[in-house]
């Protein structure tokens, strides 16, 4: 008499099903027809559209903020340039020559190098 051993693989889920014979799958009592499905899909598309619009509006809001900051930067740069020009004019050689301090200065009679 020959002996034969067969090994069958059973998944854990199958084992669970086997163990808990009372377990049942949930089945909704509400049945959706083709019209309801269409409406739901339309609603989902609408919601996605709204989300997109919200994001786009928010991005546009940043554009205005960015524009405001750019204008501010431009204004400050202009102010800086004006101040630099004013500084350059105040330190110009002609201004220095005509200053009260320069007018009080005298030319040395002679200059020499000190060893």
């Amino acid at each position: 008499m020959s002996y034969q051993q067969n090994n069958y693989y059973t998944s854990r889920r199958q084992q669970n099903w086997s163990r808990n014979q009372n377990t049942t799958r949930y089945v909704s009592a509400i049945k959706l027809g083709p019209v309801a499905h269409t409406i739901l899909i339309a609603l989902m598309i609408t919601v996605l559209g709204l989300i997109y619009l919200t994001q786009a509006t928010r991005a546009t809001g940043y554009d205005y903020e960015s524009q405001r900051i750019n204008s501010q930067i431009a204004e400050l740069n202009e102010e800086k340039a004006d101040l630099q020009i004013e500084n350059a004019r105040l330190t110009a050689l002609e201004t220095i020559k005509n200053s009260a301090v320069a007018r009080e200065m005298t030319t040395p009679a002679s200059t020499a190098f000190v060893e």
Binding site: A56, A59, T60, Y62, D63, Y64, Q67, E78, E79, A81, D82, Q84, I85, A88, R89, T91, A92, L93, E94, T111, F113
Partner: protein, 579 residues
Amino acid sequence: MNLELLKGSRSRILAAVILFIAAIFVARLFYLQVIRHDYYVELAASEQQSRFTIPASRGLIYAKSGENTIPLAMNQTVYTVFADPQIVTEKDEITTALRDIAGGNIRKDFEKLLDVPDSRYQILATKLSRVQADKLKEKNFSGIGFQENTQRVYPEGDLAGQVLGFVNTEGVGSYGIEGYLDEELQGQDGLLQAVTDVGNVPLTIGNNNIRIPKQDGRNVVLTIDRNIQSKVEDALQAAAGRTGATNVSGIVMDPRTGKVLAMANLPSYSPGEYFNVNDVSDFNNNVISGPYEPGSTIKAFTMATGIDTNAIRPSDRFNNTDSIRVQDRVISNATKGITGNITFETAMQWSLNTGFVTIAQRLGDGEQITREARDTMYEYFYERFRLGQSTGIQLSNEAAGAIVAPDQPTGNEVRYSNMSFGQGMDATMLQVAAGFGALINGGTFYKPTVIDGFITENGFEQIEESELVEKGLVKPSTSTEIRRVLTDARRAGFPGVDRAGYSVGGKTGTSQVIVDGQYSSTQTTASYVGYGGADTPEYVIMVQVSGKDKVFQGARDALPIFTDISNWMIDYLKIQPKG
């Protein structure tokens, strides 16, 4: 489908009509959406999108002030105030506000402009500062608008006017460095293409947005030293008053690098007020644009040619009879009486033409200025010292001048005898100063430059130390010998004018001017070219004095300007006297 309906003729006609109309719609839609797709996309884009130019800032121009840099040309935003007379209502208030705030910037009779009928745009005031414009904007007048413009400003006034040039009302640089480097200074405008809202504010939505950043113009640092420039301009002004000259020019160079430290002319102009100039020739920088016969200043070059080719030594002698015959012409000396068997050094000291014609003859067979002698002079003058050819300095309108080659019909013996003392040839002051620098610095020719470097995001970036053009122009021994001859000649001829302990040498020049094709005896140009330093030359100065129908002399009119600048340079550069 109920086939019974189709059997009825009216139904069939209606169906056919509807089908036909539907076909027309489909065809039209196909035409609009497929065939004319690109056109309508473009049309829609043009309405939804705007293109903005992002203007690049013009590069600034700086000068040196010792070790520091100072701005010579800057940009300022200014405003133009305009009115729409059809909207303006508060005329009295606008008039008062403009008078109080805009002051000298208002247009003449601007009140009348507010009443011009059928006009929608009248300019009331120009070049208002930001502060002035802000004060007017606060008033919030209806029908009053503001236009932003960029204006070039020159805080140092008319300092180095002809070196700088100017920027015209169209934003284009003319003359000087503004003209020469216009493209680099202008930079590249940027571009922003985007969907905009009703207020023309660019938005990030849309697929075809383009943003090309602007590239501002390069900020240039010149080799011009503000203090030296100012001194030279003052010295020229004083000389004009002293001599009565209408045209005076000067240049200061560093013979060790070819850098131009100062370059000035009279008459000059203020680049910020270029529109007030009546004579356009005032825009020209005579130092680079006015080739002339440099006269006896060229004698230094002739003697160097003779020494370098071993044709003569400064101590060699010749028989001076105050005149010398060259073919059918007789060339005379301006200074007479130094006759007999004299040295070439003496000829240099007294600037005797006969001595330098003799040197030219000794370059050949000793009797005539042969073709070989003329070839040698041409090689030294034109090819080595680069007289009569553009130096390539970074300034607009540089003139080349002219040296007639010996193979030309007019490149004969008479021409070359004249060239030996600086007549019969045209060279600019810059060419003479650059060639002279090479003559006394040991024989290295440096290309003259006015650009020291550029200011970038990383700070100051100096351009390569100096653009060496040619070494060994003359032998170092020739250079040393010429320096000695020029220094001795100056000391002997003009004792006590220089500070003790320094080597200062140079050569005067008085050249006749060609008027109506003839050399005039009533109009001459005076020049002086020289160098100064302690052990080695540290600066080269050349000055020129001229005026219509006026006689000027190198020693009397040009030399004092050189001396004034030279003695000042010794202090300014803090040159220590020789031990």
